[in-house]
């Protein structure tokens, strides 16, 4: 059942936006939920978050961060008008949209795309929402959209130093994120913190939030295959119990998450993912 790409744009380096016809998802999706996308016949199933949607017109917007083979293939090979083979969803539980008071919603790197619908809904629910996006400077995306929809949007950008690889960039996101959150929490009162992003960076932010004792919700991104509670790949330890992020989450109380285990688990396939990407790049070069 292919789903047509209505529009596709590069928003910033490595950030590609796809507007896709998917009425079954658009009709039901809530902030915090995700979809599983399979783009190619030999492709993998990857979880992505609807960032915007129109229930009546039946479309959703996904923004991918080009990191591995699948996201790169999507960026290279798909054009507007082309189909995406599968868009399954919506999956996962909606984020808690309640009246918390003053909310700080932190998008670490590409995690910002998932923050958008949640922050917008929290603002609409009567909260005073500050959003913080921590990323390399050229990757400031959705600035206008945030400014129109929340009380305050802060972009904390930085320059990528010569020789930095993903590892160093993620470390910098973690460091800057933790620092900026510490600054904000020291100066102002917040009632609720929310984070989305790489597990290591989320943990760094959590360590700061914990010092202030503020309730924190973390949307987790463990490895996922089916997204419907069937495979158990996405299991995370929460409050001493095994939970499946796809059907019990993806959001959890950050205080209960076993962060170190999560960080280990998300790294399991890094070597094979790199290999797949390298082979793909070679094939693009005609080797």
């Amino acid at each position: 059942m292919p789903y047509k790409i209505l529009d596709k744009k590069e928003l910033a380096p490595k950030h590609v936006m796809y507007k896709i016809e998917a009425p079954h998802v658009a009709r039901k999706v809530q902030p915090g939920q995700f979809v599983i996308v399979r783009a190619f016949p030999n492709g993998e199933r990857i979880p992505l978050t609807p960032v915007m949607w129109d229930r009546e017109d039946g479309w959703i917007v996904l923004i991918t961060f080009v990191r591995g083979k699948t996201t790169m293939r999507m960026a290279n090979e798909l054009k507007p008008g082309d189909p995406i083979l599968n868009v399954a969803g919506p999956l996962g539980n909606p984020a808690p949209i309640e009246k918390f008071g003053r909310v700080l919603a932190v998008g670490l790197s590409a995690g910002i795309v998932e923050v958008f619908p949640i922050a917008k809904a929290l603002q609409e629910a009567g909260n005073d929402v500050t959003t913080l996006h921590v990323a390399p400077a050229p990757m400031a995306i959705l600035k206008d959209e945030f400014r129109e929809n929340v009380s305050r949007h802060i972009f904390e950008g930085f320059e990528i130093q010569e020789g930095w690889r993903t590892k160093e960039i993620v470390a910098e996101i973690a460091r800057r994120g933790a620092e900026k959150v510490k600054e904000l929490l020291s100066e102002e009162n917040f009632d609720f913190v929310l984070t989305v992003g790489p597990a290591g960076a989320q943990k760094a932010v959590f360590n700061v939030v914990k010092e202030f004792g503020i309730p924190m919700h973390a949307d987790l991104h463990p490895i996922m295959v089916d997204g419907t509670g069937m495979c158990g790949a996405c299991r995370v330890m929460v409050g001493g119990e095994v939970k499946f992020a796809c059907i019990d989450g993806p959001g959890f109380d950050a205080y209960k998450v076993d962060w170190d285990e999560l960080i280990h688990r998300v790294g399991f396939y890094t070597d094979l993912e790199r290999k797949a990407l390298e082979e793909y790049l070679k094939s693009l070069r005609g080797e």
């Binding site: 039901k28 993998e44 089916d226 419907t228 509670g229 069937m230 299991r235 094979l272």
Partner: protein, 481 residues
């Protein structure tokens, strides 16, 4: 047919690929009968009368087994006609014979009671069923039959939604479509087939065969919506507004885990994850296919059901040394005899009376060994007839860089959270007509059983279709009155 035939005691064997060849690929192990061999085996059947035939009684969907076998002998001079006639007999009870011919535990069902077993080998019913289905598919005979059948179907003008395109759902869909209902299947994954697609490996059930069985259902008018997760994309309440009845065949998708330290170490897979990566996502073709899987040099599979055999044999095909560790003894292995035999032939080792108590990891969070408590069996038996086991207090640690947990599954949690749906111990509760606590909503297969076989799920699908037909007939008549 009055000719008295000589009893042939020995079963005509089906050719199989040698173990040393097949552990290097995922192609099918058993090659099936040719027409000549099938007729030879069919001739051995004693043709018990239908009202007596113990094989029919042993079949959960009550296929007229002597009936279809007899056709092969009767029209032995015209193979196409023989198969067409035989297929027609099978289809009256079973729409997926290429599948059941391969994965049913025939030795515990139809073949268990075969009268020939008293004097020689039991009739190879499963392989004969498979032969009929395969020959019909290859020669387009099934298409021909469908072409004759479809125009005769009288439309009922009522709609049925089926949740899950696995064995239960597909069977119910096929039966209801034949009765003239407008049927739509809601499937969560990107491909229909359920456990037949994600769970059972290519070497036991090629995907192309499942796909062709599904194509036949589509020709009967069954619509399949993939990527639709009931409980999220659409709720049962919403389905009831659009459809006259709903059938839940959502299976037992949620893997059971072992409550032991280290269960989340890297390298520990549930059988579902491992088999989904390998089967559905074709990880054995990585990086040609994008989904990876990691199979170490030493693999321990925990459990001894068919799923454990599938996982173990798949791991062997990645070149690993594989041990199946089971907490009970050899007599309690629940996998089919044929699967255990194939696994042993392929070099899978079996260790009994070992109960995992801890998963031991290295400094990087990867599993490196499993600690087991040695168990012993008592004479006393439990409710399922298995011998009770107790720990001995002695422990053994076995190295492994991959562990696959295959100890069973629970029904899918998204469906059972439906308001008003009565559930006990994770299973949907149904009455004798397979109707749930919600009027018009029926359920069958592993969603009500916990975990059983493909054919039992198909039997439920058939029973549910019959019950739904009765329910909808009353509803129709009520509306007309």
């Amino acid at each position: 047919m009055a000719v008295r035939r000589k009893l042939i005691k020995e079963r005509v064997p089906t050719p199989e690929r040698p173990a040393e060849e097949r552990i290097h690929d995922f192609k099918e192990v058993n090659l099936g009968y040719t027409f000549e061999l099938a007729v030879k085996e069919a001739e051995r059947c004693l043709q018990c009368p239908v009202n007596y035939a113990p094989c029919i009684k042993g079949c959960p969907v009550h296929i007229n087994i002597p009936g279809f076998i007899g056709k092969l002998v009767e029209y032995r001079d015209d193979p196409d006609k023989a198969v067409k006639e035989a297929l027609q007999v099978i289809w009256a009870c079973n729409s997926l014979p290429a599948t059941t011919g391969r994965v049913c535990p025939q030795e515990d069902q139809c073949e268990m009671n075969c009268v020939m077993g008293r004097v020689g080998d039991k009739i190879n019913i499963g392989k004969l069923e498979r032969f009929v289905a395969d020959y019909a598919r290859e020669k387009g005979i099934d298409e021909e039959l469908l072409f004759e059948m479809v125009p005769k179907i009288e439309k009922k003008g009522q709609k049925v939604a089926i949740i899950g395109a696995g064995p239960a759902g597909l069977t119910a869909a096929g039966e209801l479509a034949k009765l003239g209902y407008d049927v739509t299947i809601y499937e969560a994954l990107h491909e229909p087939g359920g456990v037949l697609i994600y769970g059972i490996p290519e070497f036991r059930l090629p995907k192309s065969i499942v796909q062709s069985e599904i194509e036949k259902l589509k020709k009967l008018g069954v619509k399949i919506l993939t990527d639709h997760i009931v409980g999220r994309t659409v709720t049962i309440e919403e389905l009831l507004q659009e459809y006259d009845a709903v059938f839940i065949g959502s299976g037992a998708g949620t893997p059971r885990l072992i409550n032991a330290p280290g269960i989340n170490l890297n390298g520990i897979y549930t059988a579902n994850e491992f088999l989904t990566r390998v089967n559905l996502m074709k990880a054995y073709k990585f990086p040609e296919y994008d989904t990876p899987v990691k199979v170490g040099k030493k693999v321990i599979v925990i459990g001894a059901g068919n799923t454990a055999m599938d996982a173990a044999r798949s791991a062997r095909r990645f070149g690993a040394e594989v041990i199946i560790a089971y907490r009970r003894g050899p007599e309690d292995v629940s996998a089919r005899v044929e699967e255990v035999h194939h696994a042993k032939e392929e070099g899978v080792k079996f260790e009994f009376f070992l109960n995992p108590v801890e998963f031991i990891g290295d400094e990087n969070g990867n599993v490196k060994a499993v600690k087991f408590e040695k168990m012993k069996a008592l004479d006393e038996r439990d409710k399922r007839g298995k011998r009770k086991i107790v720990g001995t207090g002695e422990y053994v640690t076995i190295e492994a860089d991959t562990v696959i947990i295959a100890i069973g599954k629970h029904p899918n949690r998204l469906i059972i959270n439906t308001p008003g749906l009565k559930v006990e111990r994770g299973r949907i509760v149904v009455d004798e007509n397979l109707m749930t606590s919600i009027p018009g909503v029926f359920a069958g297969g592993d969603a009500i059983r916990g975990e059983a076989t493909v054919i039992l799920a198909m039997g439920d699908g058939r029973r549910a279709a019959k019950a739904i037909h009765e329910y909808l007939t009353k509803k129709r008549e009520g509306q007309n009155a």
